[in-house]
């Protein structure tokens, strides 16, 4: 059973279909890298899988549970979005504790500190988020998304604002999570970064998936970039 599954998933805003009859499946241990131009519907697709939007038609399922109704399904999802989703007036640790307790993580403090340690932010645990640099905030965002040990990770431009060390750490963490059996849906404009992590590749245009193939079939990044540009331009 796929951990992430869409069946004819459609979401319309007025007459415009942001996501149009999308079918996809991501198994445990897989990472699907989703590329597409601005406005293709990638973020809307992620929000549907996060249970933050109700589909107009079709189904979004996570861990076998249909969204957005299933609180159980939301419990297994970790989301990293364009925005940090942090409270600037709380410390990094308080932000993680809040998220952990909302998910019912036992020993929330230990889990929060361990997550901060993982992104090399343990020494800034007591710093208010508003006093952190953008890159550091992004690291805390990553830690916050992982603190409840999600089985499904939805990543929308997760490398934004990260320096080289942060990007390397995040890539290693995501690889480890996939090896442990998590399913990853990665939205990025950085084709090289996406291909490096992906086991599947998909391209979205005007709400629809126009290409989906195993990573191995995508070949070298340069060749894929040429095909991608041709697809989104057509």
């Amino acid at each position: 059973m796929p951990l992430v599954e869409a069946v004819a998933l459609t979401r319309a805003f007025g007459v415009r279909r942001a996501v149009d009859k999308v079918d996809l499946a991501i198994e445990s241990g897989e990472c699907l890298a989703l590329f597409g131009p601005n406005g293709a519907g990638k973020t809307t697709l992620l929000r549907l899988f996060a249970g933050l939007l109700r589909p107009t038609s079709g189904e979004a399922r996570v861990g076998g549970v249909t969204l957005p109704g299933g609180a159980r399904a939301r419990a297994t999802v970790g989301l990293i979005s364009h925005q940090t989703m942090l409270y600037p007036a709380l410390t990094a640790l308080e932000n993680l504790l809040f998220a952990a307790r909302l998910h019912g993580v036992p020993d929330a403090r230990d889990a929060a500190l361990a997550a901060l340690e993982r992104v090399s932010m343990a020494d800034r645990a007591e710093t208010l988020v508003r006093d952190l640099s953008r890159g550091m905030q992004q690291r805390v965002t990553v830690a916050r998304a992982l603190v409840h040990r999600p089985r499904v990770l939805l990543l929308d431009e997760p490398f934004t604002g990260l320096d080289d060390a942060g990007s390397t750490t995040l890539a290693a963490t995501l690889t480890e999570l996939a090896e442990e059996g998590a399913a990853l849906l990665l939205v990025t404009h950085d084709v090289r970064e996406g291909l490096a992590l992906a086991t599947q590749v998909a391209v979205m245009r005007r709400g629809a998936i126009v290409l989906r193939e195993p990573r191995l079939a995508s070949g070298e990044p340069d060749g894929f970039v040429q095909r991608y540009r041709a697809l989104v331009a057509s």
Binding site: A50, R54, A71, S81, Y87, L90, F98, H103
Partner: protein, 250 residues
């Protein structure tokens, strides 16, 4: 399965071919209290709305004190109406802020993505707002009684009771409209426009009960107004909690 590499926490069990298990989420009230506590910590650290509401309340009390001729109109005739106008508008500052704080960096997605009932989010926000409004009332009621030279000892406790009852209704309605308007353009204007008509029955009954209390009328005369106020609280709290469940998914 081994302890998680990231958090060190033993991950929830996964059964092949079945729905993925997760940690046991907090109960409804525990989740609501968690959200309310977080909101209060954020507000006490930033003090943005609290200081503004307190300043507005105290300034309004002082300004109105100099705005009428006390030899022509007695304080007990004007104070009930003034107090409830002040509570209403100072409370709006906090009601707007409650969901505004979630919009800054889309922290609202953390709440909506959590495995807790939508109603717990509404209840948590309402509890935080209630604490905010009661805090403002705790400062402005004694200030008004002192400035308008009213019988402090006789009035303070019954008036506090009326204030709590009215605050529940104001917060129930205001929290819902705060949620609805927070991401709208000109939300600061939209919230009062939408919420104030619903505040009217609450403020009207509270002001009637307050007027009788301040005039020294028998308590039985206020009882009818207080029952009506309690009924409004119940209806608004239940209706708004239901309505939030609908708007949260959209």
């Amino acid at each position: 399965m081994s302890a998680d590499l990231v958090t060190g926490v033993e991950p929830p069990a996964t059964t092949e071919g079945q729905a993925v298990e997760a940690f046991e989420p907090p109960a409804f009230l525990a989740a609501a209290l968690l959200i309310a506590r977080k909101d209060l910590v954020v507000e006490l650290r930033t003090r943005t709305a609290l200081l503004a509401a307190l300043a507005l309340s105290v300034l309004a009390i002082v300004i109105f004190n100099f705005a009428w001729d006390p030899t022509a109109v007695a304080a007990i005739d004007l104070a009930p109406g003034l107090l409830w106008v002040i509570f209403t508008f100072s409370g709006l500052l906090g009601l707007h802020r409650a969901f505004g704080v979630e919009q800054t960096d889309r922290a609202m997605d953390v709440l909506l993505g959590a495995p807790i009932p939508r109603g717990a989010i509404y209840t948590g926000k309402a509890l935080g707002n209630l604490a905010f409004v009661l805090l403002v009332q705790a400062v402005s009621i004694p200030a008004a009684l002192v400035v308008y030279n009213l019988e402090f000892a006789r009035i303070i406790l019954p008036l506090a009771g009326i204030a709590v009852l009215a605050a529940i209704g104001l917060v129930a309605v205001g929290t819902l409209f705060g949620a609805m308007t927070t991401s709208a353009r000109a939300s600061e204007l939209l919230l009062p426009v939408l919420a104030l008509p619903f505040f009217v029955p609450i403020v009207m009954t509270a002001a009637q009960a307050t007027a009788r209390l301040m005039a020294g009328r028998p308590a039985i005369e206020s009882l009818g107004w207080l029952k009506l106020l309690a009924a409004y609280d119940l209806v608004f709290a239940v209706a708004c909690a239901f309505a939030y469940n609908i708007i949260a998914d959209e």
